[in-house]
């Protein structure tokens, strides 16, 4: 079924459609991320040093590394949220679906719809559960029953539907911590992003909530390219297909998660994943 134009948010990479097939002929897969020689500075402090990597589509890629190693900065480069920080400088290229995100022709709001982001601190808007999920759709011009259907379907996909069905109009701040985080994921999913950037999506949650969120992220892999940062190494090991280890702004190693954790090539990676510090 064709959605009305007003609700057709971004070029969807959710499922293979005719239009997707056309675009993938002319350009690389819309969900593929390529980073080339990316360096980033806050003022005079360099936080990323010539990072190059390819994030394969429809897989989960975990970024691990000590605090301050540049994980979150790397995420912020991909949807240009770093633009909002004053006094930063960047060199190198990030491509999402073959398009250089820094290209002056790129519509930043459109880019941010295609490259969704969920922050470490799950703060819903102080509005109803429904309005939270509907936010991105509404600013894209979606309304009426179309809007209601989409909100319901996103809540179903995130497994929140049964828990909040009766409280859609209740304030989202009344939800539990874990539900809030899933709501924030639902909020980002509602605009149908191709890529999902998750900045420590399950930090400071109880184990059951963490389990739920990990399950959700695993499900989302089918439709989205997922890049997440995480501190608990077991989470990266459980969840991700690829793991990239960053240290002091440098990409030390990136490989399949199994390899990174069982036979890392670089001694620094080995030290980190085995918990040895020098």
């Amino acid at each position: 079924m064709l959605l009305p134009r007003s609700c057709d948010l971004g070029s969807s990479g959710r499922s293979k459609t005719a239009s997707d097939a056309v675009t993938s002929e002319s350009s690389p897969n819309p969900a593929r991320i390529e980073i080339q020689d990316l360096s980033f500075w806050y003022g005079s402090t360099q936080v990323l040093r010539s990072v190059s990597m390819v994030v394969p589509e429809r897989q989960i890629t975990a970024l691990i590394g000590p605090s301050g190693c540049g994980k979150s900065t790397l995420l912020g480069c991909l949807n240009r949220m770093n633009d909002l920080i004053p006094g930063v400088r960047q060199s190198g290229v990030c491509r999402v679906g073959g398009v250089d995100v820094q290209d002056p022709g790129v519509d930043v709001t459109e880019l941010r719809r295609r490259v969704g982001m969920v922050f470490q601190k799950a703060i819903p808007f102080p509005q109803s559960v429904f309005d939270n999920v509907a936010f991105g759709l509404r600013i894209g011009g979606c309304s009426g029953s179309e809007l209601e259907d989409r909100v319901a379907s996103v809540l179903q996909r995130t497994g929140l539907w049964d828990e909040v069905r009766d409280g859609l109009n209740g304030n989202a701040l009344g939800l539990s911590e874990g539900q809030r985080q899933r709501l924030c994921i639902a909020r980002a999913l509602a605009v149908d992003p191709v890529v999902l950037l998750l900045d420590e999506p399950a930090c400071a949650l109880d184990p059951i909530s963490v389990g739920r969120i990990e399950e959700l992220i695993r499900d989302l892999r089918r439709d989205h390219t997922i890049l997440l940062t995480t501190h608990p190494l077991q989470q990266a090991a459980r969840l991700s297909d690829q793991t990239a280890f960053l240290q002091a702004g440098e990409l030390v190693e990136m490989d399949s998660t199994e390899r990174v954790f069982s036979q890392p090539r670089d001694p620094r990676t080995e030290d980190y994943v085995t918990g040895r510090f020098r």
Binding site: I123, F125, P126
Partner: protein, 304 residues
Amino acid sequence: MNRGFPDWIFRRLTGVVAWALFASVLSLVLGLLLVVVPVFLSGWDGQEGGSSPALDHRGSRLSLLLLGTATRTLLMSLAAIPAGILTAVYLAEYAPSGARATRILRWLVHGLAGVPSVIFGLLGLGFWISVVGVGLDRMAGDSAAPVWGRPGLLWASLTLAMMTLPVLVVSTEQALRSVPQELRLAAMALGATRLQVVMRILLPNAWVGIASGVVLTVGRAFGEVVPLLFTGAVAETQRSLALDEPFVDLAHQVFVLGTRSPEHPSSRPLLLTCVWVLVFLSLLFHAAAAVLRSRILRAEQDRL
């Protein structure tokens, strides 16, 4: 080992200062009662004879005064509130933070907030009347009788607006900045434009804070006299209320009647009425601000 200033002295000091402040507010109220009550009693005695024409006179004077004050406060609000909110939104959201121009603008706004009201009165006289008003008259061509180039309701209102604007900008910017950064970022990450962030996130979440700032500044402006002295308020006028006419004003009337020589005892009852109305209305403003503040506190607790 020398540990510096003992903690208990500082604790006592802060307590003493705070309670001294409380006592001075209390003495202000008591002082007001001491001034007003004798007048009230004598005024009451004066009316006891059943001179109802005098009472009627007082009532009609009072309604004229209230009308003048309400109109100039309203005009001031119409000019100052939108301009103040727009400036604050610019400073909080759009202005390139850290840029020199932004710093200068912010410094100017904060500086203006501390300028004495008498300076604003002179500024109003110098700018609005002598420059804008006289200019308007000159454009109209008829220089014989000045229409806009003299003190009037519009100029008094605009002068007050200039005076309240900086305070309004500072309080509104504060309210906008207290909206958690995470909400702003989350909205931006969903592809919201700056305007959408302002309209859908900032203003809905900050409106209580903005409104309480507005109520307090309007409440202050409403009782302000000094800027009106040069720009339009008069002790008495036969003309009806118009933008280009001088007007009578409640707070100004208190000043006029209060500084009159004691040879005019007849004005005492009016003075007393004006004072009570003024005190009552500013209490109302502060009550409104207190209600809004408690709503902010509740909203903040909800967020945690």
